[in-house]
């Protein structure tokens, strides 16, 4: 049931309308410009007969008295087969198709269907007539790329319904009826499309589980030192130039996960373009298919309207929840959550709400918490496990982590990967600060060993700082060697060369193997006659380990390099004896 209203106030992207009848909070409305263009909006506050709306487009040209069509539907997405590989804006308009239909510029008032109505899908029924189903149970499946995309009973179904009619195996389009459900004489026709409001968590499952299985990113510093779990959450705060986006891109390429949803939220268009142009050509080593076949891109870059930026992260997370419902392990990357928070702040300012810290709204923290809480690993109704992992970057003003968005995020995530400008400046990539970051999860390597190794980094830093004051001369050789060991660990294990074909991705087995080798060096008791000799030793070890890192797994070159490493270590031992 929709109602109409009239515009009474226009201010930036906020419009207030006077309405008659009933209006739902967060419902979609359309402001009609006098030239007929309809601008999509969302109701965000209702006061008496006045509804405040955020408009998802430029509000230029709207007038007082222009009519507003207020629908009864909340801002929702179209869910169904055909989402993978798509590039959407924050409101789920397919961008390449928009370019074809309306040209180079995103002219306001153009909305397209998210899913292709004409594509045929090879449907196989799973349920049979007479079965009893509840919400989100599998009725059938289609093949979407390499995945079984289960077609489920409606998520909003209440109670038990009987399958009255079931389509036979064959080709269907998404709008074709594939089943009819019946309860108490009422019937529901089911096709392959479901709609879900973006601001409500989508989760119809048996139970939510504790994340226990690591999500392998193939980045050593993450997997070994600051692991992330399937169904866990992590954040990457860092100043500009520290490599947040690069880290997100590397993760989206190499992570061992079924589906990646990239939400480019208020960031540079150029970065999305890179993903957009390269992913169709890059191979996913696990499946042999291109990366775009396991990716969905939600793209609301910094010059696109702010209100749509705010909703774009919800769009991305809802898509993630949907594919978790389908049964996949999904990774959702939001870059950057600060831009989303700024969109909240802009709107809050327009609503003249009493501001909190740095003018962010008082509900910032709870909004962040609700967002990250939508991740998680679950047991679906058919017993399969599926997960949604969330990784968000944070762009703190001035690189200072003591600001509301970073602090609000740190409270709710399981892993904190803090990027530091100092490491990026020193070209130590990925520039994750090993002394500031933390993880609440356990990873692919025994935690005791990891913290033993991590301790070297801490001591190394203390010694380094001391050396700045007393000079190398004033440092004992034992301390000096500890410092060299910490540098060695940093150089050969924490740092990874994303431009090298082999080193860019370090799988679990290789990490475990390398970690033992590195431990051997850290444990090794060297006796040096002076510091230059010690430095020399670690120079050669570092170089040999790097060569090892660059040689393909189990190749002759790798074995050869390993032999060199062993002999370097042994030679020192010989000298020791």
């Amino acid at each position: 049931m929709s109602t109409t209203g009239r515009i009474v106030t226009v201010y930036g992207n906020m419009v207030t309308a006077e309405f008659e009848g009933a209006v739902r909070q967060n419902a979609v409305a359309y402001c009609q410009r006098s030239d007929g263009v309809r601008l999509m909006s969302e109701i965000i506050r209702i006061r008496g007969k006045l509804a405040d709306m955020q408009v998802f487009e430029l509000t230029r040209g709207l007038k007082v008295g222009d009519s507003v069509e207020i629908t009864d539907e909340l801002l929702s997405l179209e869910l169904g087969p055909g989402l993978i590989g798509m590039v959407y804006d924050g409101l789920q308009n397919p961008l390449p198709e928009m370019a074809e239909k309306i040209g180079k510029f995103l002219k306001p008032g153009n909305y397209l269907k998210a899913l292709d109505r004409n594509r045929d899908w090879e449907f196989t029924p799973v349920a049979s007539e007479g079965d009893v189903v509840t919400a989100a149970e599998n009725l059938g499946k289609v093949k979407e790329n390499i995945f079984d995309h289960f077609i489920m009973s409606p998520f909003t179904l209440d109670g038990e319904w009987k399958v009255k009619k079931m389509a036979k195996a064959g080709k269907y389009k998404i709008e074709n009826e594939i089943a009819v459900l019946e309860k108490d004489g009422k019937t529901v026709s089911v096709n392959m499309i479901q709609r879900w409001p973006v601001r409500l968590p989508l989760g119809v499952y048996r139970e939510r589980l504790l994340p226990t299985q690591p999500m392998v990113t193939k980045q050593r510093i993450i997997d070994t030192f600051f692991p992330v779990m399937l169904g866990g959450t992590y954040c990457i705060p860092g100043p500009f130039g520290a490599g947040k986006t690069v880290l997100q891109q590397i993760t989206s390429r190499h992570a061992e996960i079924d589906l990646v949803i990239v939400a480019a939220c208020g960031e540079r268009a150029g970065e999305v373009v890179e993903t957009l142009r390269e992913f169709p050509h890059l191979k996913d080593p696990r499946t042999g298919k291109t990366l775009i076949e396991r990716t969905i891109i939600i793209c609301n870059t910094s010059s696109m309207p702010v209100a749509a930026r705010e909703s774009s992260v919800y769009t991305a997370i809802t898509l993630g929840e949907y594919y978790r419902q389908v049964g996949l392990n999904v990774l959702m990357l939001a870059d950057s959550t600060s831009r989303w928070a700024q969109a909240l702040r802009e709107m809050s300012g327009r609503l003249e709400e009493i501001p909190g810290e740095e003018a962010f709204p008082a509900y910032l923290e709870s909004s962040i918490a609700r967002f990250y809480e939508r991740g998680g690993i679950v047991e679906l109704k058919d017993g399969r496990k599926a997960s949604l992992t969330i990784g968000g970057t944070v762009s703190p003003a001035g690189g200072n982590f003591e600001e509301p968005v970073t602090q609000g995020t740190l409270k709710v995530v399981g892993t904190f990967l803090g990027l530091s400008y100092a490491r990026s400046y020193a070209r130590r990539f990925p520039a994750i600060d090993p002394l500031e970051s933390w993880s609440k999860y356990s990873g692919i390597i025994d935690g005791k060993k990891v913290s033993w190794a991590h301790n070297f980094l801490r001591r190394g830093k203390t010694i380094y700082e001391m050396m700045q004051v007393v000079g190398e001369e004033g440092t004992s050789i034992d301390d000096f060697v500890t410092y060299l060991k910490s540098e060695f660990l940093d150089n050969v294990y924490l740092q990874q060369n994303s431009f090298d074909e082999v080193d860019a991705a370090c799988p679990t087995e290789r990490q475990q193997y390398l970690f033992e080798m590195v431990l051997d060096v850290l444990k090794h008791e060297f006796t040096f006659k002076d510091k230059p000799q010690a430095r020399d030793m670690f120079f050669s070890l570092t170089e040999q380990f790097r060569d090892w890192n660059y040689s393909p797994w189990q190749s002759d070159k790798m074995k050869e390099n390993e032999k060199k490493i062993r002999s370097t270590l042994n030679s020192r031992e010989a000298a020791h004896a």
């Binding site: 201010y11 007082v64 995103l106 130039g241 373009v273 802009e346 740095e358």
Partner: protein
Amino acid sequence: MRKYYSKIDNIAGNVATLKADNVGYEELAVVEGSWGKSLAQVIRISGDNVALQIFAGTRGVSTGDKVSFLGSSMRFSFSDDLFGRVFSGGGEPRDGRTELTDNLIEVGGPAVNPAIRLMPHRMIPTNIPMIDVFNTLVEGQKLPIFSIPGEPYNELLSRIALQAEADVIVFGGMGLKYDEYLYFRRQLEEGGAMSRTIMFIHTAADPVVECLQTPDIALTVAEQFAIQGKRVLVLLTDMTNFANALKEISITMEQIPSNRGYPGDLYSQLASRYEKAVVFEEGGSITLMAVTTMPGDDVTHPVPDNTGYITEGQFYLKNGVIDPFGSLSRLKQQVNGKTRDDHRAIMDGCIQLYSKCRETREKRAMGFEMSDWDNKLLKYGESFENEIMDFSANVGLYDALAKCWEILARHFEPRETGIRSSLCDQFWPKRD
């Protein structure tokens, strides 16, 4: 039939409010009084109350002045007649020539669909070695010049205007001192670039509101040329003045400031301008360079900080040179692998040695003894600064690379440079 309103209710800052009906958001109006007349733009409508931002400021505006609405948002005439012209920040001719009225286009239109953008992939030679060799400028890039007031940023900008390859140069000056404007104009005229240049000049004496319009008009014109397939270079100076104008207006409008008085949407405001940088499939492009002065050399100040998150790197002007450490062209990797084999090696090698030279200088300042190696580094640093870093050098990329090799050879043995031996064999200058 144009309707006139003759009662202004409130006047504060640059904003006047009056009662009017059938007015569109962001519509333009003309305010006329005994003081003259000015354009104004609708920035808020609430019932029949309309808030107008008056371009010329409100000084002298009377509550009895006449206001009429033009029925459209800001437009600007676009044609090839623009070449060589100078306009004010609000788009009025500043060169005493006629006003242009043909082919009006909307200023500040919607964003480009990201799906049709191309990755920037062509180098723009500037003949400034610190840019070409070490932080290559790429067509379609957006890059600010971070600088403290007093650095020669305008000299750098005008050198880039004259030396960079571009079909069209659009220059936007915001809050310029009058003599800076004259300086730019003379540089462009003397360098013979004026015939492919269009200037939009807002001087410090002009009304603040026009400062807000300057980048929008400049970028709209640039966008039109880019659509025609032209390679456009947009130079803006100084974006900090633009941000300060935003601050002034938003505080007048009683918006809650977020950080040091700047409005909460500073990031979006800056981004929607910078993001006009683009490469189209048909070949047209906009490359954007903008001076951002940093109050107190503080890179965490809201303006440079937000800018850094938006742009693709920055040139950092310090002590009269482009600082090789703070500066970064994020897109250089897209092009510097395709120029010449030794480009990347020279880029890394020279900077690593120079960074060691700086460490050595610190050591020397603390009174440590200098070894032979230290002395080599010190001498190298001096040559590097005088012959390469000085941006008055006007040399092409290959000559600049040759110069780098020559300096390396003057001070070091090949193995001391850390450059791959195969490259040294090929490029190391032979001594007689």
